[in-house]
Symmetry: C2
Subunit: 304 residues, 2 copies
DNA sequence: TGACAGTATCGAATATTTCGATGATACGAT
DNA sequence: ATCGTATCATCGAAATATTCGATACTGTCA
């Protein structure tokens, strides 16, 4: 690399002051930064002054109501923010111990698919140190997903640009409700749904897709209910709160033992599916790669 | 951001020890790291121990010949390396003062195109604080281009994935040599070139493209000479060392006053051109955007 | 103007880092 | 086997950097 700077063997001076600066930039206020950091106001002031002196750059304009970042200050904060985030990510990852794999899981997927296969996983990879983090389908929308987990299972359409995405299998959806609910709200054709309470989590995109396939659309009058997570949605459906769309394999047991019924008796193709997602820009460790491979192998060999 | 960690208001502890760790990881040796850092060996040892204790992670395996990073150690170094690089980039950028624009320029482009337009630039943007960095067409191949400059001019085909690329104008190439050289090596048709010394900088891709257009190819027997930079190539060509390919507008003066001649009397279309390149992932400041816009405007209005 | 909410500065107290010397351990050559 | 050498670890003392609490200073608002 002609003309390149050898970056690794010179240290960033004042990096602690830079961190104090970051907190000030965040809060716009020396005093509050000091409270946040559990140190005295004079200490924070000292760091800011030191940093400005050392860099010969004015980072803040002092006002009567606190600190106003200069253009330079904001520029620095931007870069340092990214930098510290990367460092924190590294610390988070090694804190887990070697062979660690942190998986962000959907509770429903964890209990109905993964849990019965975990024994097999540990047989095949005894060194693997798995740590399960629950999330409510929000993994791909976190601002720092790599701090939360190394990879995740996410339900959706798979169009998440900042992740490496692997679709697990094509899904079909079953429309289900409790037998009692069906008796009270006869469902013979799609339009009957417009009089039912549509249960969902997160958003109504699945319902919209399903209705659109029958030439229908959601309107404001449609009764609906957003629930906390899929487990809660399942029990609510069983308890007769309304109708739900579920991946058909998920509710197979309930349909067989009669706690849920499928009014149409058939399932529907959908553009939604479970995906393995890995945050881009973070090189996965060997263990993470192994887990990724394992879950993909499992899923491709699974006839659901 | 449900479940997200608020990243900005907690500081990274031990970050100085982490930097010492980085140097050790780089050099694989406490003693040499200490020399590099101009501190005692015991001080470096102290930091490594402190870091390992605080993180409860073994970062190095100690051997008789130095330090062997553990898997965890390498993982940490990877992330921290990226993080510190971002921080250094930030510091580099604000060190220039507000309105700073660091341009990585090709010397030939600087002297024959930009220099005559600089007055105009400062008239239009008096606050702009321009700093010119020379490079030999290596900007896009630097490992940390954003530390070197905010944007650059690069000659080539424009296929540089980690940069935002704007092609300035379509180029034509003139094949030129000195009148004396032409007399000694008559050039009437493309095959005559195979007996000439082909001068170039960097690599032979331009010659390959030019020869391919005539159904010819470079072979090992072909005399050629790689020169340091284009200025040197120009004077070498004038001094009769061989034939060169230049963007035709660059050698217009020399062709007019007879210090160079164009044996074929015509110019050739090429896939090469000058480009403005901006490293991706770094938000350009207002001044940088202004300079970018200015140079693009200039170039589109330029009939060369 | 005075109250207030903010930052800056000072000397003293405290915490952290560094030093130099020494110890401990592994490796390779004799 | 033993010595010489290179390595990292540990120790107490010294040097340096940070923090504290008190106080000074500054601009805003009523």
């Amino acid at each position: 690399m002609a003309g390149d700077l050898n970056a690794m063997v010179d240290i960033v001076r004042n990096i602690n002051s830079i961190q104090v600066f970051m907190v000030c930039h965040e809060l716009g206020n020396v005093t509050r930064a000091a409270q946040e950091l559990n140190v005295s106001q004079s200490s924070v002031s000292y760091h800011i002054k030191k940093l400005e002196d050392d860099l010969s750059v004015t980072l803040f304009r002092r006002t009567a109501s606190g600190l106003q970042p200069t253009e330079q200050g904001s520029l620095l904060a931007q870069h340092v923010g990214r930098g510290l985030a990367a460092i924190r990510t590294g610390l988070d990852r090694i804190a887990q111990g070697p062979g660690a794999v942190r998986v962000a899981l959907l509770p429903m997927f964890a209990s109905r698919w993964l849990s019965s296969r975990l024994g097999q996983l540990f047989e095949a990879h005894p060194e693997m140190n798995l740590s399960i983090q629950n999330h409510n389908n929000s993994f791909v929308r976190m601002s720092n997903p790599e701090r939360f987990a190394d990879l995740g299972i996410q339900w959706g359409r798979g169009n998440w640009d900042s992740f490496h995405v692997t679709r697990l299998w094509p899904e079909t959806l079953a429309l289900v409700c409790s037998p009692d609910y069906l008796q009270a709200h006869p469902i013979r054709q799609p339009t009957d749904l417009l009089r039912c309470t549509l249960l969902h989590v997160d958003d109504t995109r699945m319902w919209e897709e399903w209705l659109a396939a029958s030439g229908l659309a959601l309107d404001g009058a449609q009764p609906q209910m957003m629930l906390e997570d899929r487990h809660f949605q399942l029990s609510s459906t069983i308890n007769g709160l309304g109708v739900s769309l579920f991946a058909s394999w998920l509710v197979q047991d309930e349909l067989e033992n009669g706690t849920l019924v499928n009014p149409f008796g058939s399932v529907f193709a959908t553009s939604f599916a479970y995906h393995v997602v890995v945050p881009k820009g973070v090189e996965p460790s060997v263990s993470i790669q192994r887990f990724h491979r394992w879950i993909c192998d499992q899923s491709s060999g699974w006839a659901h």
